[in-house]
């Protein structure tokens, strides 16, 4: 056993343990429990002790007994000697320790003697650490958004760290922010407008994109190569440079503040990527099918309707989902074009709400939850189809 490997192993495992315990402590603090210190020294010392003991005991004890023993000792020291904590806190610590000791169980004195073991230990723990940390960093804002929408202004001011929800209170009290934004701020209307714009964009985009994609994928015409490269270049072009000319022209045509104007812009901005994705798929459909159709004297309209469409349902639905998500999330154009509250989309409405400094934050968060939930649901549910499209670069941003 090399000393260097041993030191790495003990230090890294205890730092990992410390970060796990600290994240748990943060979450506990957010439930209103008073906890002022991470106790860095104590946890690290305990961690080093446990990882070394693990090596010394080795396989003399059954690994389950060993884990339970370590977990029990740690929990006792942390939850009763250093500070007295509620039982549910200690249960969490106990679970973390069981997880941790099971993870370090695979390291033995023999294992640490091999050449690259310190690197492997580092990589193992970095992986675990990465999983925990990234999940925490990513999910925390979403968690906060959800919880804040259930709190009251007073509770938020008294203790900004108290994220606990009182489920015993009245249903109406709990969902108060949601009732308020629907009653006072007309969010029902905004949901309808957003849905209408997004679904409309999907339909119009598909109507325009399917024939164009078919032509690019199958037919020979002058300027075809130029067209297919320019689709990608146009897609890279920034929306911010379109804003001023579109604003002026739309003002003069009276298209500002109209859902129709928004629909046109959304369709145009999503068309390039829709055509790009669809033509890629159309190319993969065997040509023989169409040749047979031409023999049967079907015209192009017939070919698209009767052959291409039924075969490319998966591609079309994934394009549709994308376009929906892009249109639903879009903010820049809705900010520029809409200044009449009667034609706001959800995103614009939330931004408008926040413009008033008096607006309680839980209303803002309730609105945010409403605008976020549909996209996340769609995304999680259809993830398999969507991930491949994402790699094709379909969501710009």
């Amino acid at each position: 056993m090399k000393t260097k490997n041993l030191i790495y192993y003990a230090l890294i495992s205890s730092i990992f343990l410390f970060s796990l315990v600290s994240i748990w402590k943060i979450l506990v603090t957010l439930q209103g429990v008073e906890l002022k210190n991470f106790n860095f020294e104590i946890i690290i010392t305990l961690g080093i002790a446990i990882s070394l003991l693990n090596l010394i005991i080795g396989e003399k004890l059954n690994y389950l007994i060993k884990s339970t023993l370590f977990a029990f000792i740690f929990t006792f020291v942390d939850g009763y000697i250093v500070q007295v904590m509620p039982v549910w806190y200690n249960i969490g610590i106990f679970a973390i320790l069981i997880f941790f000791t099971l993870k370090i169980n695979k390291y033995s004195q023999k294992y640490l003697a091999s050449e690259h073991s310190s690197q492997i230990v580092i990589f193992d723990f970095l992986t675990l650490f990465g999983i925990v940390l990234f999940s925490f960093v990513i999910l925390f804002p979403f968690y906060m958004m959800l919880i804040t929408s259930f709190k009251t202004q007073a509770a938020l001011l008294i203790n900004p760290l108290d994220f606990s929800i009182n489920f015993k209170q009245d249903f109406k009290e709990l969902f108060k922010s949601y009732f308020v934004i629907f009653d006072t701020y007309k969010f029902g209307r905004y949901i309808l407008i957003s849905t209408f714009v997004s679904v409309g964009t999907v339909i119009v985009t598909l109507l325009f994109a399917i024939p164009a994609a078919y032509a690019v994928a199958r037919l020979n015409f002058f300027g075809k190569n130029f067209l297919s490269t320019s689709i990608l270049i146009i897609y890279m072009f920034p929306a911010i440079v379109l804003v001023i000319p579109l604003y002026t022209v739309f003002s003069q045509l009276g298209l500002r503040n109209s859902v129709g104007g928004l629909l046109i812009v959304y369709t145009a901005t999503t068309l390039p990527v829709a055509i790009y994705m669809l033509q890629g798929y159309f190319r993969s459909i065997p040509k023989e099918l169409e040749e047979a159709a031409i023999m049967d004297k079907l015209n192009w309209f017939g070919i698209i309707i009767k052959i291409i469409l039924p075969l490319s349902i998966p591609a079309i639905s994934s394009v549709a989902l994308y376009v929906f998500m892009i249109a639903w999330n879009e903010f820049l154009f809705s900010l520029m074009f809409l200044d009449n509250p009667n034609s706001f989309t959800l995103s614009r409405a939330i931004q408008y709400l926040s413009g008033d400094a008096e607006t309680p934050r839980q209303y803002l968060m309730a609105g945010s939850v409403i605008v976020t939930i549909p996209v996340l649901l769609i995304f999680v549910y259809f993830e398999k189809y969507l991930v491949s499209g994402l790699t094709a670069g379909s969501v710009k941003g």
Binding site: T148, W328, T391
Partner: protein
């Protein structure tokens, strides 16, 4: 025979692509050219409203004279700046009603009044009156008269269409707009955001490429920031980072990491004492960059993960036989395999970050040292209401992007030649 077939094919192709091409041309390409045009003009936000002649029709009855009525048209020019030429009014009269003592600018022809008002200067106002008399002695139906709306037409200059050009906007962009400050902020934001999102993309892709419990779930979760609506996420972060009631500051103070709350989005500089040297950190800019990395690393993650999964397993097995450790495997196998993806990602993310507007706008509004070029487009155009300036800044953005792409492809092209 085949000749006609290919002709038909061509014609069909053009019919199929025409709607899409037309739409993309008018909404995406036309504005880019229009930007060039507008950027050479002095146009304010108020100038882009086309001046309109307007008339409000008021019907009044006259005392002691039930078969007569007075119609007042409140005429005005809607523009405060531009004149309207050849204003014409046209209004319909119900049957059996005739005007008396008609103004000399007007004439009646088959139940319609036509008036020629000539030119109206800016802010022009007039109360124009017509006396109406029923020709058959019956009482005039006031309601019917009210519901008929007069039609007004007139010609006016559209400030956007005339050919007065000026270089003023560009002079202002480069010399009165703290241009180099803007440029450096934009560059920091773009560069560090891009590098950061790629680094985190590599880390997370490496992570998810291993087998562990809950891996598919992890992959979905990692993409959440990318697919969530920017408005919701930006406001959540704003709440999280708030100096007084924000969770982050309260947590840090609770665990005694910091003594005073940090205004992460509202403070331009943070002085850090580093071994006796005072380092000035652009605090708000750093926070905005961190948000950007948080939101956009998933794209890098997905691209790199897809590439990693295509790397043949044998390579790693062979390396293991040769006694390579994890670090060595990463450096000599993984990195060379993903350089191509990284260089594409670098370009895409650089271009998109360079044009990022919403994120900064929602988080800081461009205050406390986070003003980038896209934010400046909005500020010039809509806060200061100088459309011409906004367009000029847009043109600068497009020019810089084209320059970047040119340099990038030169470099990449060279590297490709060398290999």
């Amino acid at each position: 025979m085949s000749d006609t077939l290919s002709k038909i094919e061509k014609r069909t192709a053009y019919i199929l692509i025409l709607p899409a091409v037309f739409l993309v041309f008018s909404i995406i390409l036309f504005p880019i050219f229009a930007n060039v045009w507008i950027s050479f003009k002095e146009v304010g936000l108020k100038d882009i409203r086309i001046p309109e002649p307007r008339a409000k029709k008021i019907v009044k009855s006259i005392k002691d004279n039930p078969d007569q009525l007075k119609v007042i048209y409140k005429l005005r020019n809607s523009s405060l700046i531009l004149e309207i030429r050849d204003v014409k009014l046209q209004d319909k009269l119900p049957k059996n009603i005739k005007p008396i003592n008609l103004d000399e600018r007007c004439r009646v022809k088959s139940n319609k009044i036509y008036c020629d008002f000539g030119n109206w200067e800016a802010k022009y106002k007039e109360n124009f009156q017509i006396l109406l008399k029923s020709s058959d002695g019956k009482q005039i139906n006031k309601k019917e008269l009210k519901t008929i709306k007069p039609k007004l037409t007139g010609k006016s200059d559209n400030i956007l269409l005339n050919t007065n050009f000026t270089l003023k906007n560009f002079k202002k962009v480069f010399f009165q707009n703290e241009f180099f400050d803007l440029l450096s902020t934009t560059f920091y934001y773009t560069f560090f955001g891009t590098i950061g999102s790629i680094v985190f993309g590599i880390l997370t892709a490496q992570l998810v490429n291993q087998k562990f419990f809950g891996r598919t779930f992890m992959r979905s979760v990692l993409l959440f920031p990318y697919v969530g609506p920017v408005v919701a996420l930006a406001y959540t972060w704003e709440l999280l980072l708030d100096p007084y009631s924000g969770t982050l500051n309260n947590l840090l103070m609770n665990f005694q990491v910091i003594q005073e709350p940090l205004n992460l989005l509202g403070q331009k500089y943070l002085t850090i004492n580093f071994f006796g040297f005072d380092l000035k950190l652009r605090l708000a800019l750093t926070t905005v960059i961190i948000f950007e990395i948080w939101r956009y690393f998933p794209l890098a993650f997905l691209f790199i993960l897809a590439r990693l999964q295509a790397v043949p397993k044998e390579l790693y097995e062979a390396a293991e036989v040769d006694g390579a450790g994890p670090l060595q495997k990463f450096i000599s196998i993984t990195l060379p395999q993903i350089t191509a993806v990284i260089s594409i990602l670098f370009m895409i993310r650089f271009i998109w970050n360079f044009n990022k507007f919403e994120d900064i706008f929602l988080l800081t509004g461009g205050a406390s040292g986070t003003r980038t070029l896209p934010i400046n487009v909005y500020e010039q155009g809509f806060t200061i209401s100088d459309i011409g300036m906004g367009s000029a800044v847009s043109i600068v953005i497009v020019a810089l992007l084209l320059l970047f792409m040119f340099v990038y492809f030169k470099l990449i092209g060279k590297r490709a030649d060398e290999n």
